[in-house]
Symmetry: C2
Subunit: 144 residues, 2 copies
DNA sequence: TATTGTTATACTCTATAACTATA
DNA sequence: TATAGTTATAGAGTATAACAATA
């Protein structure tokens, strides 16, 4: 049982404000960056940290094994990943990012960042600082 | 052609930071508040502002007419909205929020806000102020 | 003819259950 | 037996095309 030092009721108004702002931005960015589908994009992002098995990827994405199997097949078909049987356990297949996959990942990230940057173009330095501070706090609050 | 007073390249790092923080929070809230599906929830939210035709709702949600037709049927089946033929144009049907629908909307909002508020419970007053300021700036940047 | 809404159909992403091949 | 991966099948949510009713 966690001890609450504060009644969360007081926090509802600011909670709503922060939540709606974040959700609004997330929707906006998603609607304006049609590159690679999110569920494929995130798989490439995981693989950037190194090769992984399909099961591992399914766990990280909190998705079923068959779903991840399909995603990996799709990515392989597009040439963004390669699959190789694990020499130490022939049941497993090691999924790796190809050069083309790395490119697609960077392109997708650049699309999103450039769209976001364009939104910030008219901000004052003080406003940018406020946004940066807010982002830091949000990351801290949401956790890992 | 818009005149850019600033090169957006400089803004990429902060753009990424703000974008990732917002997307992370949005995903987190969505994953932890399983009440009414988002595409149905938002329809109820639109109807809170007053009755509307299906076509109108489809436009606001940027969704096809058949998709909205299905959503409204689903909501009607659950008793959250009612449909009535427009007396002034028998082609149209006016969709209205029922009391039960209003309740579902408020419950869904409360779920999301309470989850968010719980995340903020350990923040200092200064941190809350920073988050609020960040949210205001984000709303301004994203626009209407 | 044009418009509102629906039905028919299909595609994508998700899931569970059943199968295979290894361990 | 248990595990990694796949295939089979189905359920949401989305779309376009074709239709009905009304303007």
């Amino acid at each position: 049982m966690t001890v609450r030092l504060r009644d969360t009721t007081d926090l509802i108004p600011i909670a709503r404000e922060v939540r709606l702002a974040a959700q609004s931005l997330a929707r906006h960015v998603k609607d304006h960056t049609p590159s690679l589908a999110p569920h494929l994009f995130t798989v490439l992002a995981w693989l950037e940290e190194g090769p992984a098995t399909a099961r591992d990827l399914a766990g990280r994405e909190r998705v079923s094994a068959p779903s991840m199997s399909k995603s990996v097949s799709e990515l392989e078909g597009r040439g963004f990943v390669s699959r190789a049987v694990d020499p130490s356990d022939a049941r497993q297949k090691i999924v790796s990012l190809t050069d083309s996959g790395r490119e697609a990942l960077h392109r997708g990230r650049a699309d999103r960042d450039e769209y976001m940057a364009a939104l910030l173009v008219d901000c004052t330095p003080e406003e940018l600082e406020g946004l940066q501070r807010g982002a830091e706090l949000l990351r801290k609050v949401v956790g890992p």
